[in-house]
Each structure stands twice: as structure tokens, then as C-alpha cells.
């Protein structure tokens, strides 16, 4: 007899039952069912919680609490700008050699308040260190695998087959070390990630990071100014407010779908801790998509439009005046915009897949005047 109770709990019977109730056919009247009639419900909204206690730009649609950055060992706010330029030395031919040391390790990280994720990391953080070099530099990466699985570092860029970071060419076991070495080419906004198998698992576990190759102004005389503005450390570059944003996601229950989406790992971090932007200075974002299990990701900017450099491999924009850009997995690019003509205040940015937004991929720019 319980079955009919269950059967009643569906739309058809809800409507049917209401019909019967409305017709007054039910013995004992509508009151006997303990329900008000549909007509009464129609006049009173079923829900009014949004009217009260609406706080924050996203109302109640946000994670509860905050992530312990100390426990994680990294703060998503500092991840935006903490470029790792390596140990610099000169080669006999006068070229610059940049040496990086990267350690692979297993580490539990907090990806949303209270949700712990057993990650595999480069240098104990997700995303891994943001490596930044100059076009033409010699790059040497000493990779020590202290993790429990075989790992590698596959760099997007131009290199030899031996240095590809795939099984048989740079994939190493736990406790082993491997040195990747290649020239930094071409300039652009690239990434690196583990290419051990199974690929999906190694990537979504957290083994990826930004690999930025700044253009060498000397190689681009016709656009030297633009190149100098991108080259870390130049006066022209110092004017820019540069941020790296790695769009990622986490499948916490092994169902092949992400429970948490984020930019730089922690869901809603930049919603709760907006990124400060000085109104008068231009903004440049190195945007990288490594989200796993979903074919595409995107970034949408509120109240503004930007120029976009696909893969960052050109000095002139590949797309002009857009407010949304779509990226396939491993696709990346550079966004340039300014709030010069804007009021100060909070400006949202988020994936324009509403689902990603609502599951953590949403943040804010806090546009402020420069301090006097």
C-alpha cells in the first residue's frame, strides 16, 4: 500500500489531486488534506527568503566559510602574482639559463571551505608554480618525484621528443629525478602538466601550472613597445597589473563530474576576497583552462570588454573588444583591459557556464583609486 503513497508524489498526481481537492469532492473538505488550495498558494509566493538577509553580490548562492590558506600552504590571492623566474645564470654563449626545481608530492588540499581533496601537486600547491621566462632563454627543470605515483612534466612549447614528458620520455617513478631542458619558444601564455597515465586522473588531481614565455623586445623591433610591456621587470611592464588565472575543477566523489569549479583552485575565493585593481592602470590576465571532464570553459567580464591574444603568441590581439572568451581544455590566452573610464567598485568575472559559476568559478575585481 506504500506504493500508492510514492505514486502520489509526482507532478501528475499533484495536479490531479489538486483538481479533486478544488472540486470539493474529497470528504472532509480541502482542510482534511491539510493543504491550502492552489488558488491560495498562487497569491502567496512559496518562498520569500530572498527578501530577507540578502547579503553579498551572490546572495545565498555561495559556499559557507573560508579555506585555511595556512593549512594549504598557499593563498590564491598571492598565486595571482607570484612569478617563479628560476635561478638565473649565463651559458658560455652568453644566453640566459633559468633553472627550476620542482618536486612532485601527494598533498591533501582544501578546495572549498571544509572540502579536502587528496591532490597530487608540483611544489605542494595547485596550480603548480607559475614559471616565467623570456623568449630564447635556456630552461632547465630539475624534477624530483616524491609522490606515490609515476609523474612527468609535459611543457607546452617547442622542444625535442626526449623532453616531452610523456611515458618513455621523461616520465619517472617515485623517488626518481629527471631534468628537462629546452629553449623557451615560442613566446606566449603556455602551461605544463603531468602526462603520466591515466592522463585524466593525473591532470585533475592537480598536476599543472602556468608557463609564461615573455617576448624578447630585441626579436620584435617593429613591436618592441608591446613586447617590453609584456617582459617582466621592464618599466613598461611595471605599469601593468598582471594576474595568472588557471581555471580548474575537482571531482571529489569519482563520478566523472566536478563538484568544485574554481580559478586557482579555491571555490569562490576571489568572490570572498576580491582582487584589488587600480583604476588608472591596465590589467593583463594570463588565462589558462585545465578543467577536466568538461570540454570547454570560459571567462566573462562584467561591465567591461577586453582584447584577447589566443595562446599569447601574437603581439596584436586575435580578438578585439569582447567580453566573453571560450577556451577548450589546455587552451589559453592573454586578456587586456582597463577600468580607466569606470566608477570604482566591485566588478564580477566568472565562467559563463552558469553551472561552473554556481559551483565556485566566480570572482570579483575591486576597482579602487590609486593611493595618493
Amino acid at each position: 500500500m506504500r506504493n500508492w503513497l510514492r505514486e502520489t508524489v509526482n507532478r501528475r498526481h499533484l495536479l490531479w489531486g489538486s483538481l479533486a481537492t478544488a472540486s470539493g469532492f474529497l470528504i472532509g473538505g480541502a482542510a482534511a488534506t491539510g493543504q491550502s488550495s492552489h488558488a491560495e498558494r498562487g497569491s502567496a509566493p512559496p518562498y520569500d527568503a530572498n527578501g530577507a538577509g540578502h547579503h553579498g553580490a551572490h546572495g545565498h548562492m555561495i559556499t559557507v566559510g573560508d579555506v585555511g590558506n595556512a593549512r594549504n600552504g598557499f593563498d590564491p590571492t598571492s598565486l595571482l602574482t607570484d612569478w617563479n623566474t628560476g635561478v638565473v645564470s649565463s651559458l658560455p654563449d652568453g644566453r640566459t639559463l633559468r633553472t627550476f626545481e620542482i618536486i612532485g608530492e601527494d598533498k591533501e588540499i582544501e578546495i572549498a571551505p571544509g572540502i579536502l581533496f587528496p591532490a597530487w601537486t608540483y611544489n605542494g600547491r595547485v596550480p603548480g608554480p607559475s614559471l616565467r621566462v623570456t623568449e630564447g632563454d635556456r630552461v632547465r627543470i630539475i624534477f624530483q618525484n616524491n609522490g606515490s605515483h609515476r609523474h612527468s612534466i609535459h611543457f607546452h612549447g617547442i622542444h625535442s621528443a626526449r623532453m616531452d614528458g610523456i611515458p618513455g620520455a621523461g616520465e619517472i617513478g617515485p623517488g626518481e629525478e629527471f631534468i628537462y631542458e629546452f629553449d623557451a619558444l615560442p613566446f606566449g601564455c603556455h602551461l605544463y602538466h603531468c602526462h603520466a597515465l591515466p592522463l585524466k586522473r593525473h591532470i585533475h588531481k592537480g598536476m599543472y601550472g602556468a608557463f609564461i614565455i615573455d617576448p624578447d623586445p630585441a626579436r620584435h623591433p617593429e613591436q618592441a613597445d608591446v613586447a617590453r610591456s609584456r617582459l617582466l621587470g621592464t618599466p613598461e611592464n611595471r605599469e601593468w597589473q598582471e594576474f595568472v588565472m588557471v581555471m580548474n575543477g575537482f571531482d571529489t566523489n569519482f563520478d566523472g563530474e566536478n563538484e568544485v569549479y574554481a580559478v586557482n583552485t579555491v571555490a569562490h575565493h576571489y568572490a570572498k576576497h576580491p582582487i584589488t585593481v587600480i583604476r588608472g592602470r591596465p590589467v593583463r590576465i594570463y588565462l589558462i583552462n585545465v578543467v577536466e571532464f568538461d570540454p570547454i570553459n570560459s571567462l566573462h567580464l562584467h561591465g567591461n570588454f577586453f582584447d584577447y591574444y589566443d595562446h599569447g603568441t601574437t603581439l596584436t590581439p586575435t580578438l578585439r573588444t569582447i567580453d566573453t572568451v571560450m577556451q577548450c581544455q589546455a587552451q589559453r590566452g592573454i586578456l587586456e583591459f582597463t577600468y580607466r573610464a569606470h566608477e570604482t567598485g566591485l566588478y564580477m568575472f566568472h565562467a559563463h557556464q552558469a553551472e561552473f559559476t554556481e559551483l565556485g568559478w566566480m570572482g570579483m575585481f575591486d576597482v579602487v583609486e590609486a593611493a595618493a
Binding site: M1, R2, N3, W4, L5, E7, T8, V9, N10, R11, H13, L14, L15, W16, G17, S18, A20, T21, F25, L26, I27, G28, A31, A32, T33, G34, Q35, S36, R41, P45, P46, Y47, D48, A49, N50, G53, H60, M61, I62, T63, V64, A112, P113, G114, I115, L116, F117, F250, T252, N253, D255, E259, A267, H268, E355, E358, L359, G360
Partner: protein, 404 residues
């Protein structure tokens, strides 16, 4: 020939019972208990189970027991299961993180419950999916198939619920009992038929109760081991009622009718719980048709109660009490079901009902056996066979009415 005691055979005589002093008696109780304590201490201190620990995360379980939708959002009562306390980290509604308040806050110990209050603007008549994400990233889903405002458990609801409870509980039993004058006119054959009919309909109720109880048990927190609980409760209630019912020998007449009424009453209590819970869950559309079908279904129960009274007419007041005994628990069930409902309690009530019904089946069977001496020739009387089939068919047919 050694099975005969010869003169040389010494037959060992049993030792005379020695009167043990009191302290020895205590010692023989204390010693095993002491050893048990020793073993428990060793288990706790040396932790031999550690060897089996392969680093696997603890199994987490979470059961959704109650749901309330009102103008402040969605409210869910959850119960923890599994081997270690559960930490609820975040809550999603329809694939979006939402703020929530857990009451009481903190880790949920095994079998502990908490309310989760989510200020979610649900949409009338549409489906919503709530997903709880724990500290380990494990997710537990709860589906709201049709969102409707949960009727408030309000004292003003008690009367209308009682009216409906009486309608599906007391009224049909009373109508069934009203067949009594007709039943009195039947002969010995008719009597056999009626009693067999009673067994048939009780058998249907037994299977139905047990099935519902097991199904509900499956929805309860795993730690309750619902299925074992259902079987145990049914057996215990069967035995208990058996002992009570047999205090004055095999029940007949009013005694047997009372036993039948108690069994059916317990069944109706469980059904009442389920209906009350359905209201709380917002199943507004129970519908006229279903209520009428359910009522019709229960009329046969009244006939069953009246059958043993045919030979021994009781006072008129007895009929009133029997109707209340069998029907009124439906009202109680509805009240409890709408106020504080958990699947395990409804399962328990239905299991007790199943045990009670089984006991009544046995009693009526014994009564029927002694009533008809044709059994002695080894033949099954046609009236008995017909009654069983008729009872089962009648219940089945009316059950079809309420099965949509």
C-alpha cells in the same frame, strides 16, 4: 553381553548434588566477565585491527529523514551512519553551492541527526536536487520530485487529520462489522467460508505489511539494519501476542475478534504513519479516488473481525470497541507521522503489525481447524478453499483500485 550389569559391574552412581556456597556461585559469574574485560582491554590497548588498516578512508553514510519546504527555504533532517563521524562541508541545490546552517553544528557522530537549513528559493511544482558534500568530498543526494509547501505541523491540523484517519481507518471497519447480521444467517459451511476469507485477507495484509516495512527499512539509516530490525520486530510481536492471547487457552469468539482487531489496528497504525509522512512530504494530491479506494480496501477488515463473533454474539458495545481498536490507530499514526516521522519508526510499526497479523492468522486457522471435522478425513473443505481464494482476491481487487 555387556549391556547387562553383571555382579562384577560397578554402576557409577551419580554424584550427590553438592550445595555450593554463595561465593562460588558469584565466582562462576565473575570469572567469565573478568576474562571478557581482559580481552576487551587487550583489544583496545594493542589494537590488533591496526594490521588490517590499509589507509582506506572511513565509509560515510548519510540518510535524509525529513524534509520541510517553507517560505524560508528547504530544511532537511539528516542522520549520519558509517564508521566515523561525518563532517558536512557544503551543500549544493540544483548544482549550485548555497549557504546553509547546520543545527546543531559540528561533526555528526554515528546515528546522530542534524537539521540543515538552506535559504533556497524553491519553485512550486518543480523538481529540485539537494546534494550534501562532506569533508572528504563524498556526496549524498536528496531529490525533491515536486516542490510544494510542507503543511505545517500545527495543532489546527490535528482535527482534519483525525477526520481523514477515521475515514480510512474506523469507517471501513465499522462498515465491515455491519455485515454481522448477514453473517449470522450462514450455516456451518458459510462459517468455514467466512473464517477462511478472514485468513485470506489477513494473509494479504501480512505480506503487504512486511513488504512495506522492508521497503521503509531500506530508506532508514543503514546502521539501524532495517531489514533485520523488521524481521526481529515481527517475530517478537508474534510471540508476545501469542503468549498473551493464549493465557486463557485458544481464543474464540470475542477474544479471537479482539486479537484480529489488534493485529489490523497495528497494521493501520503503520499505514497511518506512512500517510501522515506523505502529507508532511507535501504529497498533497492523495486524492478522492485514492482515499475512497483505500477505504473500500479496509472494509474487508471489518468482515474479518466480525466472523468469529457469529457463533457467540457479544454485546452491541463490543462492536464499537472493536471498530475503534482496529481503526483508531490510523489516526494516531497520522498524527505521529506528520509530527515526527522517520522511516525506521514506520517500518517498526508495520513490522509489529505484520507479526500481530501472523499471530491472528494462526489463531483463526486453529479455530477453523477445530470447527470443521472434515479435516480428519484428510480432505480440504471446498468452503475453506473458496474462502481463502475469495479473501485474497477481494484484497487484491481493492488494492488494484488504489494502485495507480
Amino acid at each position: 553381553m555387556n549391556d547387562r550389569a553383571g555382579p562384577e559391574t560397578v554402576v557409577a552412581s551419580p554424584r550427590p548434588p553438592t550445595v555450593r556456597p554463595g561465593y562460588a556461585f558469584v565466582l562462576w559469574i565473575a570469572l567469565p566477565l573478568f576474562l571478557l574485560g581482559l580481552v576487551a582491554t587487550w583489544l583496545a590497548v594493542s589494537d590488533p585491527l591496526r594490521a588490517f588498516n590499509n589507509g582506506a578512508p572511513p565509509v560515510e553514510r548519510l540518510t535524509f529523514e525529513r524534509r520541510i519546504l517553507d517560505n524560508t527555504g528547504i530544511h532537511l533532517r539528516v542522520r549520519a551512519g558509517g564508521s566515523e563521524p561525518i563532517t558536512i562541508a557544503q551543500v549544493q541545490v540544483d548544482d549550485a553551492y548555497w549557504t546553509f546552517v547546520q543545527d546543531p553544528p559540528g561533526d555528526l557522530a554515528r546515528l546522530a541527526t542534524a537539521w540543515i537549513h538552506i535559504p533556497f528559493p524553491w519553485t512550486l511544482g518543480e523538481a529540485h536536487e539537494v546534494r550534501v558534500v562532506t569533508k572528504t568530498g563524498t556526496t549524498f543526494d536528496h531529490e525533491i520530485p515536486v516542490a510544494v509547501r510542507t503543511p505545517e505541523a500545527h495543532s489546527s491540523q490535528l482535527v482534519p487529520q483525525a477526520v481523514l484517519g477515521a475515514f480510512v481507518g474506523i469507517v471501513p471497519v465499522a462498515i465491515g462489522l455491519m455485515f454481522y447480521p448477514v453473517l449470522r444467517g450462514v450455516g456451518a459451511q458459510g462459517m468455514s467460508f467466512l473464517l477462511a476469507l478472514t485468513i485470506g485477507l489477513l494473509a494479504f495484509l501480512f505480506v503487504d505489511s512486511l513488504e512495506d516495512a522492508l521497503e521503509l527499512a531500506g530508506e532508514a539509516a543503514v546502521a539501524f539494519q532495517g531489514h533485520v530490525m523488521v524481521v526481529l520486530a515481527a517475530i517478537i510481536s508474534f510471540l508476545l501476542l501469542w503468549v498473551i492471547g493464549r493465557r486463557r487457552g485458544t481464543p474464540t469468539g470475542l477474544g479471537l475478534a479482539t486479537a484480529i482487531a489488534i493485529g489490523i489496528g497495528l497494521h493501520n497504525l503503520g499505514e497511518g504513519l506512512a500517510i501522515g509522512a506523505a502529507f508532511t512530504a507535501g504529497a498533497a494530491g492523495l486524492g478522492t479516488f485514492l482515499v475512497l479506494g483505500f477505504t473500500l480496501h479496509n472494509i474487508t477488515e471489518g468482515v474479518g473481525i466480525a466472523a468469529p463473533l457469529v457463533k457467540e454474539p457479544p454485546p452491541l458495545s463490543a462492536f464499537v470497541w472493536l471498530a475503534l481498536l482496529a481503526g483508531a490507530p490510523a489516526i494516531l499514526g497520522m498524527w505521529f507521522g506528520s509530527l515526527a516521522y522517520s522511516p525506521q519508526w514506520a517500518a517498526l510499526a508495520l513490522a509489529v503489525g505484520a507479526g500481530a497479523i501472523l499471530q491472528v492468522i494462526v489463531e483463526v486457522g486453529v479455530y477453523l481447524w477445530r470447527l470443521d471435522d472434515r479435516w480428519k478425513s484428510g480432505a480440504v473443505p471446498v468452503s475453506v478453499f473458496g474462502g481463502l481464494v475469495a479473501g485474497l482476491s477481494l484484497m487484491y481487487a481493492t488494492a488494484v483500485l488504489v494502485k495507480v
